[in-house]
């Protein structure tokens, strides 16, 4: 008789694999991608493509020729890094810079640590921060959204709502006055504003987030606590002095807060494991974002706050364990 397979239990395995989860994330990003393509046109498509292709390319090169290990560029994780990185830069960023950013995200952010699952920091954010520090001018020149252009070069660039606000407040202009020059909330919600390519449409990103939670790709803990704590913190300051601090709705709809809370902070590898750990992490991100926005040098705080919290993940994992069965005996 032929040999029977003898392996330990269980003998069933769930259908989800690393790549099915990753492609689920990518699928959920489609609405946000479409919005960005709509408002920023061909350049947005180009920048996204460049980022994805370069991320996969660098991962391939490193896995094949440096590590000489298995090549896993189709597991979807490099694609996600690419899309998120593209979402985090102005749509008119020179493509060459995008390639450099991808190399840093994949090389420094991910592969030096041993690849998927081992990196402490979110690779796309590592790439973004690198670009922000190295090429501050290009990274803060945002195109104005114009439905369906093929060209952004001669389009007037405009500040992001947050930059406009920060500059205004620093010059002592009251918030209520600055606000009159900024897009109203309806436009912010759908993404009709200056900003990074994919961080602009809160609606599209929330949609993607809801899809991921329903499909159990991510849990609600981090996004809800991130957004919630940011909102509460912003509301407190707004109540104290609405002339210096804008209202919380404005804070939530701008500067990639949604993108950060739903896509960047929920990255599996760089976020905590247990539910309470996730909550602490989310709250930390939310508060830090607001603190940086209010008191920091940058108008925008999402990227830094997530990276800072990434660094605390090992500690959080140690301190916050899941609730053990039979731990506290409460009977009845």
């Amino acid at each position: 008789m032929k040999l029977l397979t003898v392996s330990g239990s269980p003998h069933y395995h769930a259908k989800e694999s690393v790549s099915s989860l990753m492609y689920g994330v990518i699928f959920s990003l489609i609405p946000a991608m479409l919005v960005s393509f709509y408002f920023f046109g061909l350049p947005a498509i180009l920048i996204t493509l460049t980022a994805v292709v370069s991320c996969m390319f660098f991962e391939f090169i490193i896995q094949k020729y440096l590590i000489k290990g298995p090549v896993t560029i189709f597991d979807g994780s490099a694609i996600i890094t690419g899309v998120l990185l593209a979402f985090n830069v102005p749509a008119n960023l020179p493509l060459g810079l995008m390639v450099i950013g991808s190399a840093v995200a994949i090389g420094m952010g991910k592969m030096t640590f041993g690849g998927l699952g081992k990196n402490p920091f979110n690779p796309a954010l590592v790439g973004r921060v690198f670009l922000m520090i190295s090429f501050p001018v290009q990274m803060t020149t945002y195109p104005k959204p114009t439905a369906f252009t093929t060209q952004l070069t001669d389009v007037v660039t405009g500040p992001t709502p947050l930059t406009a606000l920060k500059d205004g407040v620093t010059q002592g202009v009251p918030v209520s006055e600055i606000m009159t020059q900024l897009p109203e909330y309806g436009r912010l919600l759908i993404g009709n504003m200056g900003g990074s390519a994919g961080e602009i449409s809160a609606i599209a990103i929330i949609l993607g987030g809801i899809y991921m939670v329903i499909k159990k790709i991510i849990s609600w803990h981090i996004p809800v606590t991130f957004i919630g704590s940011a909102a509460i913190f912003a509301a407190l300051f707004w109540l104290i002095n609405p002339e210096v601090y804008p209202d919380p709705v404005f804070q939530l709809l701008t500067g990639g807060l949604m993108l950060g809370a739903i896509y960047m902070a929920t990255d599996y590898t760089t976020s905590p494991m247990a539910p309470w750990g996730m909550i602490i992490f989310g709250v930390g991100c939310g508060l830090l974002t607001m603190i940086i926005r209010f008191f920091g040098a940058y108008p925008e705080g999402v990227a830094f706050s997530i990276l800072i919290m990434n660094a605390f993940v090992p500690l959080i994992n140690r301190g916050f364990k899941p609730k053990r069965f039979g731990e506290e005996v409460k009977n009845g």
């Binding site: 239990s9 395995h13 769930a14 731990e327």
Partner: protein, 437 residues
């Protein structure tokens, strides 16, 4: 807390239990229960009858063993059992089917019982009954509530949360009355006023049937439970039914519960009311490639191959044969191993269904931790166990792991979590024993 939803694949749930004739020869292992193996009381050449005691288990945790056939003892020898190891067994060549005197063979329902608690317990012990759900803990020991503890509830496990298995389901459908009487007897033995039968919602017919029957019995109720694996694990079942958590490292009696399987309740009925020892049980034989998925009433000691034959033979493309359910069962490498008191099913997987997906890096997705029914961190335990950091394993409560397999099932990276955890548990167990001298 936790839980997973593997495909149910209960292919044999409508197949009525079919009685199999005794095979030509049986091998009856002496260790079919948790605890000390039984001591043979027959020797080579002895003539035995069906139901005759052939080995006695007199240690505190042990169980008697009876012949499941009539015939001649060929030898007492080591044979490979389902664990893959050679264990001592009594091998009997079958001649006819002559039953031991005093065993009632008519199938009429016998409700009346005048025995007291002590006598019921003795009968259960005499019949060699063990937990039929797979844990095979000697039943009379569980009926004997330790001093200082008090049983309030008898919990009857009709969950059968393992995919594919349908043995308990069929038993509930076909032997409902007998199970009720068995539960009454166990309640009497324990001195409890309430018994709750837990059944998963995927068996609406069984829920309906037993609910109707229970109306005629005092203190017995049926509760439908959410379908999730491992809903039928002892601690999870108690939690779901009466919302009490058995503390880590403790037994259900700590929270006033005694848990028995429906199969055990049926065995108790037969032992007490019919004088019949535990010599046969229902075994599901199933799999997508199996010609005739079935539920057999098979004699203990029947080789697995005979059951597969009765279900239409071993399919050409078989890649794996499992003793038990797909989540906790053991893959067999020898099909001549005997059915024992704890064999709930024999599953046949095709070559395509057999292999595990290839292992990848842990992506720290937290799925294993979210679904672990014991609230453990499987990814961490596996890491620590692999590195032999045993003290840390113990601190992270590795011994609470019930080896349900949910973590490995759900892991998208197909990390062999449970394989590492098992090794870790063995080592930590050894460390703890050495420490306590």
């Amino acid at each position: 807390m936790g839980g997973v939803h593997p495909p149910e694949n209960k292919l044999a749930e409508k197949q009525t239990i079919e009685r199999l004739d005794p095979p030509k020869s049986v091998a009856i292992p002496l260790a079919q229960h948790l605890g000390v193996p039984a001591e043979p009381v027959v020797a080579r050449g002895d003539q035995v009858k069906t139901g005759q005691r052939i080995a006695k288990g007199e240690a505190f945790i042990s169980a008697h063993i009876h012949s499941s056939v009539s015939g001649k003892v060929k030898k007492v020898d080591a044979v490979v059992d389902a664990s893959g190891y050679r264990k001592k067994a009594i091998i009997i060549d079958v001649e006819g089917d002559e039953w031991e005197e005093g065993i009632e063979l008519d199938e009429g329902l016998q409700k009346q019982c005048d025995l007291d608690a002590k006598e019921i317990m003795t009968k259960v012990q005499e019949a060699g009954i063990v937990g039929m759900g797979g844990a095979t803990f000697p039943s009379h020991v569980k009926l004997n509530v330790p001093k200082g503890k008090k049983a309030e509830y008898l919990i009857i496990n009709g969950v059968e949360c393992e995919p594919c298995l349908t043995a308990d389901h069929r038993l509930m459908m076909e032997k409902g009355e007998e199970i009720m009487v068995g539960i009454e007897l166990q309640m009497k033995a324990l001195g409890v006023k309430q018994a709750i039968i837990g059944i998963e919602q995927n068996k609406p017919d069984a829920i309906q049937h037993l609910t109707r029957l229970a109306a005629d019995y005092d203190g017995i109720s049926v509760q439908a439970l959410e379908v999730k694996y491992p809903q039928g694990a002892e601690k999870q079942l108690i939690k779901a039914l009466i919302n009490r958590e058995v503390p880590s490292g403790k037994l259900p009696i700590e929270v006033g519960c005694v848990v028995h399987n429906v199969g055990t309740a049926f065995a108790v009925y037969e032992a007490v009311q019919k004088n019949k020892p535990l010599i046969e049980r229902v075994v599901t034989v199933s799999g997508t490639s199996v010609k005739k998925p079935s539920n057999f009433m098979a004699r203990i000691g029947t080789p697995v191959s005979a059951l597969i034959e009765a279900a239409g033979g071993l399919p050409e493309d078989t890649g794996k044969v499992i003793n038990g359910g797909p989540m906790m069962g053991k893959a067999l490498n020898d099909l001549e191993v005997p059915v024992t008191k704890g064999t709930s099913g024999i599953l046949i997987f095709t070559e395509n269904e057999s292999p595990r997906p290839p292992e990848q890096n842990c992506i720290r997705c937290a799925r294993c931790l979210t679904i672990c029914p014991m609230g453990l961190e499987p990814y961490l335990l596996a890491q620590l166990a692999e590195k032999q950091r045993l003290e840390e394993c113990e601190d992270e409560r590795i011994m609470d792991c019930m080896e349900c397999g949910s973590c490995l099932y759900i892991c998208p990276s197909a990390k062999p979590l449970l394989d590492h955890i098992r090794v870790g548990k063995t080592r930590v167990g050894k460390m703890i024993r050495e420490r306590s001298g």
